[in-house]
Amino acid sequence: MTSARRSISRFDELSSRIGYGIVIAAALLWTVPFLWMVVSAFRPPEQGAAAMASLVPDYLPTLANFREAWASADFPRYYANTTIMCGGILAVQIVTMSLAAYAFARVKFPGRAVLFYLFLAQLMLVPIALLVPNLTTIVHLGLYDTLLGVMAPYFATAFGTFLMRQSFRTIPIELEEAAVIDGARWWQLIRHVYLPLSKPALIAFAIISVTAHWNEFLWPLMVINSPDNRPLTVGLAAFTRGAEGAQAWGVNAAGTFLVIAPLLICFALFQRRFVNSFVTSGLK
């Protein structure tokens, strides 16, 4: 019995070590595409197509690919469009979700449960799955080919509302009562009591929202027509198509690097915040 148990534990240890080894190997494998991107982006174009598949940086790094990428696509404008889009969506979302969250967290009214379910529906009926009718609506509203048209379907957020409601509920009601005695109006309550005390939830939501819309492709592709209004993702896809035609893989890698870099830098700086936010995104 004892020896049997000992052999089990030895087998245990061995199998868990192998399992861990495989995870290390997987983590390395997971980084290969990015490693290739970095190595290729800085590779001198003179090395030619044959050298492209190598992951070894056997060269003096050069910015030639970046210069070419920068010249052949209007990246500054794409950055500006994406920033306006993400910022605009987030700003409106903070207003709509705080108001709704306050109602769901602290106000009693008939139909609260029904309305709550109606909000819940958006978690599954995501705007992107409804892209065809939404495009019709955007066209009817005269918002076709505008950034506002890309942003509008995201102005209300069920997820954000639930997150804020959860946070508002943890705030002691006495704080609100004290503020009311001091003569605070309801919007002042939300602005000066509830929102400041919900900073962690707000930050978590902001990270999720900005990442999601920074990365979004299909919807802006449908709404945006003129090159000047393209966000980064749509611009990158057009740019990639051009680079593919020219077999300019180094330039393509550099362009992709330019699009990914801001997110990776933010992640490196605020790793823990990012990870926590993404966990929150599934736990409501």
Binding site: A53, V114, V132, T136
Partner: protein
């Protein structure tokens, strides 16, 4: 201010929202919800209604006529749609099962918070942050037959050149592989969060009882992770239906429709074929697909929401 009723612990159950004795009509609450409801109405409820209506109608020259289930019949007879549907099924099973298994494996392996584990987590998580389009543009080269990154290194192992996204028999598998790589880190996070909630004693008891790693997984870890699994499954189902960006860049649904997915088909019908009725019918099928995939988990979510409200 005085006409906002603060919610104290309610004297009556509010579960259905209609227990008359507890309710004071409070118009301001509707005012607070109005901004959200305007946008939800315009971009969630209205399009759902519209899509159902459109799926039963057809644009006939200048006027719109009711055609019953004809759009759905047309769908069922369209080989491209059937391809998209079966592809999406294969894609669903092929991405969800392996990525959940991998995610769970990763989570269990790196759950102790050492600096090295934190590094491993980050490396596995990075693809989650990056736009799918950007990833697809990297994989254009990685999947390049002959001279691409994969073939270059596989050739060193003596593997002959493979046309990863150009061969109709392989293309969907390649897309599935890319998707697993992209999403596994996301699901891993939820399992990590779930694992933290498991009391240490549960494992100690299992160890004293001489449980093997497999038994510990089966009888301790998995039961505790039930909630995380339900959440992850819903998110994975959403991803299966809504993530098609890589298809645009890498394959455009080809070769021979082997990587056509439902949402991509919807896009093609609406934007390239201008067949709104068919696009709407396909959207209805996609929504049904989405709801069916997550039906079980969705019920759990509703129950927990009900318990909270």
């Amino acid at each position: 201010m005085s006409n906002i009723t603060l919610s104290r612990p309610p004297a009556f159950s509010l579960r259905l929202g209609f227990s008359p004795a507890a309710i004071k009509l409070n118009p301001r609450a509707y005012l607070l919800l109005a901004p959200s409801l305007v946008f939800l109405g315009a971009f969630t409820y209205w399009p759902v209604a519209q899509v159902f209506w459109e799926s039963l109608h057809q644009q006939n020259r200048s006027h719109i006529v009711y055609v019953g289930i004809q759009n759905f019949v047309a769908l069922a007879q369209d080989p491209a749609f059937l391809h998209a549907l079966t592809n999406n099924l294969v894609y669903a099973v092929g991405t969800v099962v392996p990525s959940l298994v991998l995610a769970l494996w990763f989570a269990v392996a790196v759950q102790r918070s050492t600096w090295f584990n934190t590094l491993l987590r980050s490396l596995i998580f990075i693809p989650v942050l990056v736009p799918l389009v950007a990833i697809a543009s990297l994989f254009l080269f990685i999947f390049l037959p002959g001279v691409g990154l994969l073939d270059h290194y596989l050739a060193m192992l003596g593997v002959a050149s493979i046309n990863w996204v150009g061969d109709p028999d392989i293309a969907l598998a390649s897309i599935i592989g890319l998707t697993i790589w992209k999403n596994a880190g996301y699901y891993m996070l939820f399992f990590l969060a779930g694992l933290q909630a498991i009391p240490g004693e549960a494992y100690e008891i299992a160890l004293i009882e001489g449980a093997s790693p497999w038994q510990r997984m089966r009888y301790v870890t998995l039961p505790y992770l039930h909630n995380s699994l339900a959440f992850v499954f819903v998110i994975a189902a959403l991803n299966v239906v809504t993530q098609v960006d890589h298809i645009f860049v890498l394959t455009k649904g080809g070769p021979a429709e082997s990587t056509d997915l439902l949402l991509f088909y919807v896009y093609q019908q609406a934007v390239e074929q201008y067949d709104i009725g068919k696009a709407a019918a396909a959207t209805v099928v996609a929504l049904a697909f989405l709801l069916a995939l997550s039906a079980v988990s969705l019920r759990r979510m509703e129950q927990s929401a009900e318990a909270q409200s």
